[in-house]
Every structure is written in C-alpha cells, then in structure tokens.
C-alpha cells in the first residue's frame, strides 16, 4: 500500500468505528451508561431565530438538569442528549427535520415551535411511533388528527382566540374590529378563532386582511383598515411583523387599539414597536411567569445561564420534564413503552400542573392578557379555567 494512503485508510477506519458507536449507543446494553437522544426542532435562522434560540435554551436547560440528577431507567444509568435542528419555521424543512429525527432514532421530540411546522411533522412522528410534545404550537388541528403521539403543554387557539374575542368585547369594550393575520397555520388559525368569538360576543368585524410572515411593509393594508375606522385591530402572527406594524399604525394616524396573540407577546416586540407600542394588548397561554407554580425559581435559573426569557422557554423545560417523568414511570426510554405513561401524565411543572386530555391537549389551561405600560408587559388578567 502506498505510504500516503495509510493515514487516509486509518482515518476512514476510525470514522467507521466512531459512527458505529454513535448509532448503537442508544440501545447498547453492554455499557453501564445509556445515551437517550431527545430531538428539538425550532427556527434557528430567519425572522423567528430569537424565539427558536429561546426554545432551544429552555430545552437544553431541562436536559442538563435531568442529567445532573443522575437518573437510572431500566436498571441503567441514563444520559440525555439534545439533538437540536433548524426548521427555519418552514413546513417543508420541518418534515425533513422530522424524518432525520426518526432516522436517528430519537426517543422523543420537543417541538416544533410553529404550528405550521408542527402539524406536518406530527404525521411522521406518529408513523414512527415517536412521542412529540410541542411547547408552543397552538393551532387546534395539531392534536385533533387522531395521532396518539402528539401532545402539547400550552393551551390551544380555540381557547386563546376565544378568550381574546370575548375579552375585546367585554373588558376593552370594542364595538368594531379589524382582523389581520400572516396566513400561517398559527396566525390565520388564531385570527379565525378570534373573529368567531368576537362576532359571537357582538363585535362587528369590519375586515379581515392577510399579509405574510416575512413582510415589513403593512401600509397598504393599514390604510384600508384606517378607512373602516375600527375600535381595535387584531393581529394573528409573530413579533417580527407586529412590532413594525404597530409603528406604522401610529404613523398613519390610526387611533385604534391593538391586540395580538402569544406570537407578539415577547420582549422583542417592545424594542421593535418602540414607544408606538404603548397600550397594546397581547396574550400568552398560561400564567404570567411570576404566578407560575415554580416560575420565579425558573426565571432566576434561566437568566443566570441564558439571559432574558423570550416566550416559550419555560414550556420547553416542562415538555422535557414531562417526557422524562413518563420514561421514569414506564422504566423505559423506548417510545412504545413510555408513550402510554406519557398520556397518563400527572406532573407538577414550572408552568402549570400538566395532564393531558384524550387528544393530547393540556387540561385546564389558562390564558393571560397583558398590556404594554411604560415599556413593559403588565399582566392584566388570567382567563379560563383555573388549574
């Protein structure tokens, strides 16, 4: 063999050994420690990268905490390992990531962040029998496809849109409203639920306009809305749009109030909307972090490592912990074995007491409405069933 080839061959052999070791690790019975892969899929690039990073951090924190506890499952010491992927908030990429997770044989998936990516991916996980817990997908359809593997630890939009629609009528006292959405499964779904509930509560819907989740210019749509003189404008979509939108609403001289769902309820919205955002309303599923059962502790714990919480980090933390809790009770990390236990979860999480209904939706979820006052989101009221 020519001398130059020796290093090449050697490195190929090592590579082969390493990759063998990797694939067989989750099931290896010989070693004392077992590595359990947990997939996390979030948009790490594009307009929602900040939320994706936040989710990843929440997930990672939970996995680190679980590892620190030093768990034994099925008689073996368990080490959880995070496999984080970027789905770019794009439904197509989401399914590719899902397939990758299936091929890697992850034991469970925390994600995805968006309803638009979560729903198409959920079919792939369901077919592979891998449990999936979304920390933030709120579109009702996700858990209503008959998949046994789909769970979420956040109330859905039937609830969020419904509560918001009623809130606008009863507490804000709006008689007329204009609705806008970003034509994603999340944004449009939430806007439709809002529209339905607001109509039922006696609010007249003057118009329903659409934009997309990459736009920054909303002047044309807003000018249309201005002509209709609504009391309030509802936007179903994310902060990267609602922030600049808020600015344009004020610079066009539209006096209407503004309300948006959880996608706009972030610290990012504050800086993007600037002073124009004053008085805006938003809602987040769940309690305000201060009122969550173990919210304060989590906040301190998270801030020390990653800084400010954007939105869903606590939900990601809970999603991981619920999953691991089910593995512990089943005494197995094999999806088929712990899935039935996951469905029977009864877990005291950071965000709430977590148990699932037959669909995999969170039982007894609540919605909190916030208002932007002197540059800060202030919790006004928590709506819905008390946990």
């Amino acid at each position: 063999m020519p001398r130059q080839l020796i290093p090449l061959v050697l490195s190929l052999i090592t590579l082969g050994l390493v990759s063998c070791g990797k694939t067989s690790a989750p099931n290896s019975a010989t070693s004392g420690e077992m590595t359990v892969l947990i997939g996390a899929s979030n948009p790490m690039t594009g307009p929602q990268a900040h939320l994706g990073k936040d989710n990843e951090n929440g997930t990672r924190l939970a996995i680190e905490d679980a590892n620190a506890q030093g768990m034994t499952i099925g008689g073996k010491k368990v080490k959880f390992e995070l496999v984080s992927e970027d789905d770019a908030a794009d439904p197509k990429t989401g399914t590719i990531v899902a397939q990758k997770f299936v091929d890697q044989k992850v034991s469970g998936v925390i994600g995805h962040l968006n309803s638009g990516t979560t729903i198409p991916a959920s079919r792939i996980y369901s077919e592979a029998g891998i449990p999936q817990i979304s920390p933030s997908a709120t579109n009702p359809k996700y858990t209503h496809q008959g998949f046994k593997t789909a769970f979420r630890v956040i109330p859905n939009d039937t609830q969020q849109g419904g509560e918001l629609g009623r809130y606008v009528a009863s507490k804000i006292g709006a008689k007329t409203a204009a609705v806008m959405d970003d034509t994603t499964q999340y944004g449009q779904g939430l806007a439709n639920q809002f529209e339905e509930a607001a109509k039922a509560a006696g609010v007249m819907i003057l118009t329903h306009e659409h934009t997309d989740d990459k736009a920054t210019d909303f002047q044309a749509i807003l000018t249309n809305i201005k002509a209709k003189k609504p009391d309030i404008i509802f936007y179903g979509g994310m902060d990267a749009q609602s922030g600049p939108m808020m600015k344009q609403i004020r610079s066009l001289g539209i006096p209407a109030k503004f309300i948006t769902g959880d996608g706009g309820c972030s610290t990012e919205f504050l800086s993007l909307a600037g002073t124009s955002g004053e008085g805006a309303y938003c809602s987040l599923p769940g309690m305000p972090i201060e009122k969550m059962p173990r919210g304060e502790d989590f906040k301190k714990h998270f801030n020390a490592k990653y800084g400010e919480i954007q939105d869903y980090a606590p939900y990601c933390y809970d999603a991981v912990m619920v999953m691991i809790d089910a593995m512990k009770r089943a005494d197995s990390t094999v999806p088929a074995k712990y899935l039935p236990e996951l469905a029977k979860s009864n877990f005291d999480g950071v965000t709430a007491h977590i148990s699932f209904d037959d669909n995999g939706d969170l039982k007894g979820g609540v919605i909190t409405v916030y208002q932007l006052r002197s540059g800060k989101w202030v919790a006004l009221e928590t709506l819905g069933a008390k946990p």
Partner: protein, 307 residues
C-alpha cells in the same frame, strides 16, 4: 378619495426606495450585462452599518436628522468598499467567462454576505433607534410623515444627480461608451476596468443610502432584509427596461404604486375572494404583461444607449 391618495403616497415612497436600489442593478447590467444579485445584500449591509452608527450616537442622547445623516455618511464608504471588493473578487476574474459564471458567483456572494451579517449583527430583528420625532402632515385627508417626505426628496435628488453624472459629465460619457462597446471605448483611451469599478462604487453608494432610509422608515434591520428588497428592485429594473436609468426610476415608482393599490383595492374589487396578500401576484402579473408586449421593458429600447 383620501384613501386612494394615501395608497398612492405610500406607493410612491416605497417605489422611490425600489428605484434607488434598482439604479444599482441597472447601471451594472448596462455596462457588463451582469445581474448583480448581491446588490440587495449591499443594501442590507448599508442599513446595518447605519444602524450600528446611529445606535452608538443615539445612546449618548443625540437625536434628529443629523444622527441619520452621520449614519448615511458612514454607511456610504462602507458599502462602496464592499461593492468594489465584490467586483474585484467575484466578477473581475470572470469578465471573460461565460455569462452564467458571474451570475452564479453573484448568488454565492449574496449568500456569503447574508451569513457574514448574521455573524456580525446576529439573527434577531434589530430595532432601528428612534431618533426622529417624525411629525405628520395632512394633505386632503391623507397623512404623510416627515420621514416619507425626506425619503421622497432624497431619492429624487439622488436620481437626478445620477442622471446628471451619466448624461453630462466626461465620466458619464466614458460609462456610456463602455456600455456600448467596451473594446472600442478602451481603444479611445477609456480605462474600462476603472469605469466598471466606478459604476459599482456609485451603485453601492446609492444602496447605502437606500439601506439607511429603509431602516429608518420601517424601524427594523435584519440580515435577511436585502433579499426581498433586492428582488423587488430587480423586478422594477426589468419592468422599466434593464440597462436604462430612467427605466429603473419609472419601474420602481410604478411597482410601488401598483403593489399598494393592489393591496388596497384587490379585496374590495373582488369582494374578498382575492385578498390584499395577492398584491405581489398582481405586481408580477403586470411585469409579465409588460414583458410580453415590450420584451425590453417600458423604457428599454433594443440597441439604444445603455446605462
């Protein structure tokens, strides 16, 4: 009527920004027949450099148009250097290569710049500091803000200036000559390489101004902001007739107004079946219609003077 007026005003402002960026596309295309797909990214870099400078000054408590002006003044040389660098590294070595090669190299530069910007400024949407009080003026029921007025005025002046340079100066004559026939222009003593570099310099300078104006107008900056803007500006350049200065200006303004009127009236005209989200579709349908009837664009003429 006031709504119509408002849509037209919004359209003109948006369109003038398209036009400013489209000038960069059209000038480069005029001279070396290359669609410089990295041009949108130059705009993005201009916006983000401007943002950093403005933020630095604003944090000391200074406000007003002076701050924006300083941002522009720093962004212009940065973008010019970038434009020159792109031309030198990615296009000049490929000057004699088949036409597809520099096009692919342009797309590569575009992706590289986006990722570089993501490394420098992060992936978050950045907030453009509020340094302007931005008073509003009312014209017949429509609102026009000071920022919009300044955008219209600045782009108007810059377009006029570009036109004057190209049409009335010796440099402009050399540019037009290089566009018509680079080898003959070279024989007449025109340093074609230098002229091409200068074209990139001018286009990038305009892009820097456009970037800071876009940032100030919408209040956000992000490493992906140049992509769609570049695409729209390129569309505007094609609509007006790529290679023609007047075409880029007309195309930009037209595209802006069509988009806004489309978003404003599609919904009510079609009774809600086609909503405002179809305004882009309308804009591109217009483009197709123009190209079918006049393949060289509105103001482009086959064999006429380019640049």
């Amino acid at each position: 009527m006031d709504i119509f007026l408002q849509q037209v005003i919004n359209g003109l402002v948006q369109g003038s920004l398209y036009a400013l960026v489209a000038l960069g596309y059209t000038m480069v295309y005029g001279i070396i027949e290359l669609v410089n797909f990295a041009h949108g990214e130059v705009v993005m870099v201009g916006a983000l450099v401007g943002l950093s400078v403005i933020e630095r000054i604003a944090s000391r408590g200074d406000t007003g148009w002076g701050v924006i002006a300083i941002g522009v003044l720093v962004a212009i040389p940065s973008c010019m250097a970038l434009g020159l660098g792109i031309e030198r590294v990615a296009y000049r070595p490929l000057r004699k290569a088949p036409r597809l090669a520099p096009l692919i190299s342009a797309i590569g530069v575009s992706i590289a710049l986006q990722q570089m910007a993501a490394l420098i400024w992060g992936r978050n949407y950045l907030h453009y500091p509020d340094v302007l009080s931005n008073p509003q003026f009312h014209i017949g029921g429509a609102v026009i803000t000071q920022v919009q007025l300044v955008i219209l005025a600045t782009t108007g002046i810059l377009m006029l200036l570009t036109w004057l340079i190209v049409q009335k100066t010796a440099l402009g004559r050399a540019m037009r000559a290089s566009a018509q026939n680079p080898s003959v222009a070279g024989l007449m003593g025109v340093n074609v390489d230098r002229i091409i570099a200068l074209t990139f310099l001018m286009g990038s300078g305009l892009a820097a101004v456009a970037g800071v104006l876009v940032g100030t107008y919408y209040g956000v900056g992000n490493h992906t902001m140049g992509f769609m803007l570049g695409l729209k500006a390129f569309t505007a350049a094609v609509l007006g007739g790529i290679g023609s200065l007047g075409g880029a200006m007309l195309g930009g303004l037209l595209l802006g107004v069509i988009e806004n009127l489309g978003a404003g009236y599609l919904g009510s005209v079609t009774n809600g079946t086609i909503g405002s989200n179809y305004s882009d579709v309308l804009a591109f349908l217009m483009l197709i219609a123009v190209l079918v009837l006049r393949p060289s664009g509105l103001m482009g003429e086959r064999g006429s003077e380019k640049v």
